[in-house]
């Protein structure tokens, strides 16, 4: 259910790399737009003023503008556009903003932004591994048409390394390990893992925040032995994650335990560790889930072998085809039953043959989107008449002008 990238960073598909990038970017956008940066800049004093050197007037006044620069950077990051540059510049600005925020809100909620910055930078460092991205599609221009055709029509794809996820997983494990280590070495683990200590921590937070969550009361009413067991398990899970990763022990049970612990804290005290739940989910086997919920029915796709633009456009779909359910054909090797059909011209449009139906042009793309779980919602969206009307016009324009604007037709003799 969860992948140990530390032991094996190789994947059959680059899907997980892309999905984590998208979720990380959207999560950070959500956090950044949720904060009133005007208020942060206007705060009269900093209760946690260790970093007051960064609180110079121009910097504070710029926070509301920097927020939107960061959002633009994060949108580029989500799309995977110029990953190295966007991750670096966005990280610098976001780190600066978070340092100011930290002086007002010294909490795990803010610390999680720094954790995310490290992960973003790992993406920048290993950007060439993130092929299912705008950069990945851009890089296809460095491949010739023969190479792309052969990539599309082959059955076996290479494996993909995910060193950014490997580094990110180690980073998270180190943070947990440090938390558990501190309780054992700096604190007193025997006293910490008791119902008395954990119960006092929970009750104190209820009084301090002025809340009385039902789940919190229920937990405090439980037998002491169960509360102590919860505390001890937390300690073991925090220290255990790093050990499990290094020695290749079963990971899923530890990660599920940590998520369960965070959900428990959410119910009994509030969303203190919500960020950690999101971050731990990064390491799920999303490729397997995608493979499971994507349709298993095969479809046949026929595209123009001389069209460079078409081959580049289909590149991302090939990467999404984990179940190998899309048979890519060109007009020259397509099955005779399709070639012999009337009203079919493979030089003009792309075709998809599925479930006994023929889809052409815009509708072929729509049917292709429907094939994969992650793109299926877009397929549904593409059926709306206004979207379809605009989409068909765009497709027709590109199809008619591909020679002129999209470096499309290649003379096969030039490819030798």
């Amino acid at each position: 259910m969860f992948r140990n990238y530390v032991r094996n960073p190789k994947l059959d598909s680059p899907l997980n790399i892309a999905l984590v990038r998208i979720v990380l970017g959207l999560y950070l956008i959500w956090k950044v737009v949720s904060i009133n940066w005007n208020a942060v800049g206007e705060w009269p004093l900093f209760p946690y003023g260790y970093y007051e050197i960064f609180a110079f007037d121009i910097g504070l006044a710029s926070l509301p503008y920097l927020q939107w620069i960061v959002v633009i950077g994060l949108v580029c990051f989500v799309l995977g556009y110029r990953l190295r540059l966007t991750s670096f510049l966005t990280s610098i600005i976001l780190t600066y903003m978070s340092i100011i925020l930290m002086m007002i809100q010294w909490s795990g909620n803010t610390e999680a932004i720094f954790m995310s910055v490290f992960i973003m930078l790992f993406y920048g460092l290993y950007s060439e591994q993130d092929v299912l991205s705008a950069d990945g599609v851009r890089r296809t221009r460095n491949r010739d048409l023969n190479e792309l055709n052969s990539f599309l029509t082959t059955r076996n794809l290479p494996s993909y390394r995910a060193d950014m996820l490997r580094s990110a997983l180690l980073l998270i494990a180190i943070l947990y390990f440090g938390s558990g280590f501190a309780k054992i070495v700096h604190g007193n683990p025997i006293e910490w893992a008791t119902a008395t200590s954990l119960g006092r921590h929970i009750r104190s937070s209820h009084y301090r925040l002025g809340i009385e969550p039902v789940a919190g009361q229920l937990l405090l009413d439980m037998p002491d032995i169960l509360i102590a067991l919860g505390a001890l398990t937390t300690l073991i899970l925090e220290v255990g994650l790093l050990i499990v990763l290094i020695f290749g022990l079963p990971l899923t049970i530890v990660v599920l335990g940590l998520i369960g612990f965070h959900v428990g804290v959410y119910a009994t005290q509030g969303p203190i560790f919500l960020d950690m739940i999101i971050v731990l989910l990064f390491f799920m086997s999303w490729d397997k889930i995608h493979s499971y919920i994507s349709t298993g029915k095969s479809i046949d796709l026929v595209y123009d072998e001389h069209c460079y633009f078409c081959a580049r456009s289909l590149y991302a779909f090939k990467l999404l085809d984990l179940n190998k359910t899309v048979n890519f054909y060109t007009q020259y090797n397509t099955p005779a039953e399709y070639r012999e059909r009337e009203n079919v011209n493979f030089d003009d449009e792309m075709y998809v043959f599925a479930d006994g139906n023929v889809y052409r042009g815009y509708h072929a793309f729509r049917r292709l989107f429907k094939q994969f779980a992650v793109t299926a919602p877009l397929s549904w969206f593409m059926t709306f008449p206004p979207v379809a009307a605009v989409g068909k016009r765009i497709y027709t324009y590109i199809a008619k002008n591909r020679d002129r604007h999209f470096v499309c037709s290649y003379d096969p003799s030039e490819q030798s």
Binding site: A39, P47, G187, R203, G210
Partner: protein, 208 residues
């Protein structure tokens, strides 16, 4: 110290500039052998040391939460508003979002309390008028949840209060029973009051 900078200032600046300079260098030399491994190895090693020692400089964070066993006594701070009739209302921290005003008194000097109090009073009045006019509170359904759930006002409750005229910072000490998480009693003492009308505060029916 350099030009009036404290040791903490120098560490903070060095950590920020040093980290991003190192990152820029790694990005620049990414195609040389082992550059990426050295970068990741260095970052994770520093992070590990920071997390083992419990001292770091941003962006290197530690995640030490609830490190120590809870003591039999626990002191924290509560913030209350007072209306012109001397009636108290617990502070709704959404008014000073993104701060959660948990432990201010450990970090503010006494001189800063009036400044903080005035700010809290001003923000509370603004937040109240937003809630009363049906305007958006500082946090909405779509915003990322605050790190902790806090006490929140509602319109019916606010209708029972006149204009807010003072802010009281209480220091609360919780006493637990021996070897138990049951609360024995609470001591609540006024730590600081910010108001232009001290007579109102003298009439306050302090919360028990």
């Amino acid at each position: 110290m350099i030009a009036g900078l404290t040791a903490i200032d120098i560490i903070a600046i060095s950590s920020f500039i040093g980290f991003f300079s190192f990152t820029a260098l790694a990005f620049k030399l990414r195609n040389r052998s082992n550059t990426k491994e050295v970068y990741v190895g260095t970052v994770l090693s520093v992070l590990l040391i920071v997390n083992l020692v419990g001292l770091g400089a941003l962006p290197f964070i530690d995640y030490h939460k609830y490190t120590y066993p809870a003591e039999q006594e626990n002191t924290y701070q509560e913030v209350y508003l007072v209306d012109s009739n001397g009636k108290e209302l617990r502070y709704d921290t959404r008014a000073v979002h993104p701060n959660s005003i948990g432990q201010l008194h450990y970090h503010l000097s006494a001189d800063n309390y009036d400044e903080a109090g005035e700010f809290f009073l001003e923000q509370a009045q603004e937040h109240r008028s937003e809630l009363m006019t049906g305007g958006p509170p500082e946090t909405s359904w779509w915003t990322f949840p605050l790190p902790s759930r806090n006490y929140e006002w509602n319109v019916n409750e606010l209708n029972e209060y006149d204009d807010f005229v003072a802010v009281i910072f209480y220091e609360v000490t919780m006493y637990y029973e021996n070897n138990s998480h049951e609360v024995q009693h609470l001591d609540r003492e006024i730590y600081h009051v910010t108001t232009e009308d001290p007579s109102v505060v003298s009439e306050v029916n302090h919360v028990s």
